[in-house]
């Protein structure tokens, strides 16, 4: 069990997402940075989409009430156990009573805490993700609050072996970290003001020539009213060549839609299932983890990529994760 001493700014249970219910208006949700979620889970021997904590900008203070194997992934915060800095991207065994907290860093936005066994909350429509607006999923359908007790599932066989072997080395220490971690070359290129790759969207041709050019040239600032639903962007205003009559249709994560005021909105994990605004571009799925780590005030620039290349990069990312999975099986524990 994990006791929430202080919840931080916005800490929620998220998993790989809730698929199959968009036709009923139920959003996908899930981790904003799906790469970090998957790796945090892999490092503690969980299925990659298992329920973990997504921590936003201001970290929580958590107490582990039992011996736990954890991994912290993502960017934006430096974790500590009992006040001692803990490395990211590797398995860490913490003693019962250990207190995890976070120190703010200058860039990055979201961290993922994977725990062996996963956060054991009931599944709703096949997923443990928190859908804040509808008040379902995750921990009681809401963000964590002080005093919450998060139950943990039973650790997998690999995690049990690691925990048994390392617990003898724990003697009085706050934690034991693996002497190895994820190769930084495998990580997405997290940056405060990244370039992200994008394809023209379904209504690209309906925009005027300047908008079609500038969307792949200009800098866009992420406005403070951005959240898990979408990033509101400011910079160049994007205009249609002439007004078009849009009928609502499905939108997806990474869709860059443009309301009549010309300021684009980049739809993210909690986006609604349908939209009636023209869609000028679509961010490549492989770059969504990079987008998830941009803070309000950060800048985004879109670089044009062809659909086939976006899919090729995604398959390459999948191979990298596959290599990580295979390496973990042989890791010296």
């Amino acid at each position: 069990m994990i006791r929430v001493i202080n919840p931080g700014l916005l800490t929620t249970v998220q998993d790989g997402g809730r698929y199959g219910y968009q036709k009923y208006g139920v959003i996908v949700s899930g981790a904003m940075d799906g790469f970090s979620l998957r790796v945090a889970n892999l490092l503690v021997g969980n299925p990659e989409g298992a329920p973990a904590l997504e921590i936003t900008l201001v970290g929580p203070r958590l107490r582990f009430e039992e011996l736990s194997l954890i991994a912290v992934a993502g960017a934006g915060l430096a974790p500590r156990v009992d006040g001692i800095p803990v490395p990211l991207w590797r398995p860490v065994l913490v003693h019962p009573g250990a207190v995890l907290d976070f120190v703010a860093e200058t860039s990055g936005c979201r961290m993922y805490l994977g725990v062996a066994g996963g956060i054991a909350v009931p599944q709703v429509m096949g997923s443990a993700s928190t859908y804040l607006r509808a008040g379902i999923g995750g921990y009681k359908g809401r963000a964590l609050q002080a005093g919450d007790d998060l139950p943990l599932g039973p650790p997998g066989e690999w995690a049990r072996t690691v925990m048994a072997m390392w617990s003898s080395r724990l003697r009085g220490k706050s934690f034991v970290a693996a002497p190895w971690g994820v190769d930084s070359r495998l990580l997405p290129k997290y940056e405060p003001n990244p370039r992200v790759r994008a394809m023209p969207g379904p209504q690209f041709e309906a925009f005027d020539e300047e908008a079609r050019r500038k969307v792949f040239e200009a800098d866009f600032v992420v406005l403070p009213q951005s959240d898990r639903m979408g990033y509101r962007l400011d910079g160049t205003k994007l205009a249609l060549a002439r007004p078009i009559e849009m009928i609502s249709e499905a939108v997806t994560t990474g869709t860059l839609q443009v309301p009549p005021d010309g300021r684009p909105i980049l739809l993210l994990a909690d986006h609604q299932t349908m939209g009636g605004y023209p869609k000028i571009a679509q961010v490549a799925t492989v770059d969504l983890p990079v987008v998830a780590q941009v803070r309000p005030g950060g800048r985004l620039r879109f670089t044009r990529i062809e659909l086939e290349d976006a899919q090729r990069l995604l398959r390459k990312r999948e191979e990298d994760i596959g290599r990580l999975r295979a390496a973990l099986c042989h890791a010296r524990i």
């Binding site: 009923y24 969207g201 609502s248 249709e249 799925t285 659909l307 086939e308």
Partner: protein, 231 residues
């Protein structure tokens, strides 16, 4: 079955456009295609979402490339029947009109030079098509409302509209399944729960259903509300 527009929406979704206008015949073709696709999903398919004039198919690009998905969808479009033979479900929705549940009923009546009773009679006399579910979980996009009760949205949206509120926005009508801000003119409220996260499917309505509204009084509202209070 004529020319269909198949376009990518990024690297993991495909949009199929069946027409340019909201029409019952287009909707019938869309539902027939969705039934056909769900009965035998194409390789890599994650889910598909019908809307007024489109179907969006989500897929996993690690399992299938865009060109493979497109080729398969084009083949399926050629095979799909023009209409589905499934029985159309008609869902009757009780509504307590006016009063505290329908604070805008008088305004809708005044705007259309009708009495509130005439607005209720017109609203309950139609049969509506559920074109899509979206915007909020379980929220039905309904087609088929009479122009005689069409009323523009409020100039300033309300901050919180209670779940079950039945409203009018321009020529559309609908029901809010969960509490949300919104600018629709509220004419009544239903005790039925449209969003049912504990059920599978989690929505009272699905695209392709037909809806009829009928008027109930406050006592009936309270009685039905208790019966539908399962969560």
């Amino acid at each position: 079955m004529g020319h269909l527009d198949v376009t990518p929406v990024g690297d993991s979704a495909v949009l199929i456009r069946f027409g340019d206008a909201v029409e019952a015949s287009t909707h019938a073709r869309i539902m027939a295609f969705v039934d056909h696709l769900e009965a035998a999903p194409i390789p890599g398919m994650v889910e598909c979402v019908p809307a007024f004039t489109t179907v969006t198919v989500f897929y996993d690009p690690v399992l299938a490339s865009y060109s493979e998905v497109k080729a398969e969808l084009v083949r399926r479009l050629a095979d799909a029947p023009a209409s589905t033979d499934r029985r159309v479900r008609v869902v009757e929705i009780p509504v307590c009109y006016g009063g505290e549940f329908g604070p805008d009923l008088e305004d809708v009546a005044a705007h259309n030079h009708l009495t509130p009773e005439e607005v209720v009679r017109i609203h309950t006399s139609g049969e509506y098509i559920v074109y899509a579910i979206g915007f909020a979980p379980g929220f039905p996009y309904l087609g088929g409302m009479s122009d005689r009760i069409a009323t523009p949205r409020l100039a300033t949206p309300r901050l919180a509209i209670p779940a079950g509120s039945v409203g009018i926005a321009g020529g559309q009508t609908g029901v809010y399944p969960i509490e949300t801000p919104g600018g629709w003119r509220l004419i009544g409220r239903t005790p039925l729960r449209l969003f049912r996260p504990e059920d599978d499917p989690p929505s009272l309505l699905a695209a392709g259903d037909r809806v009829r509204f009928y008027a109930i009084d406050r006592d009936e509202y309270d009685r039905l509300g208790e019966g539908d209070d399962r969560g």
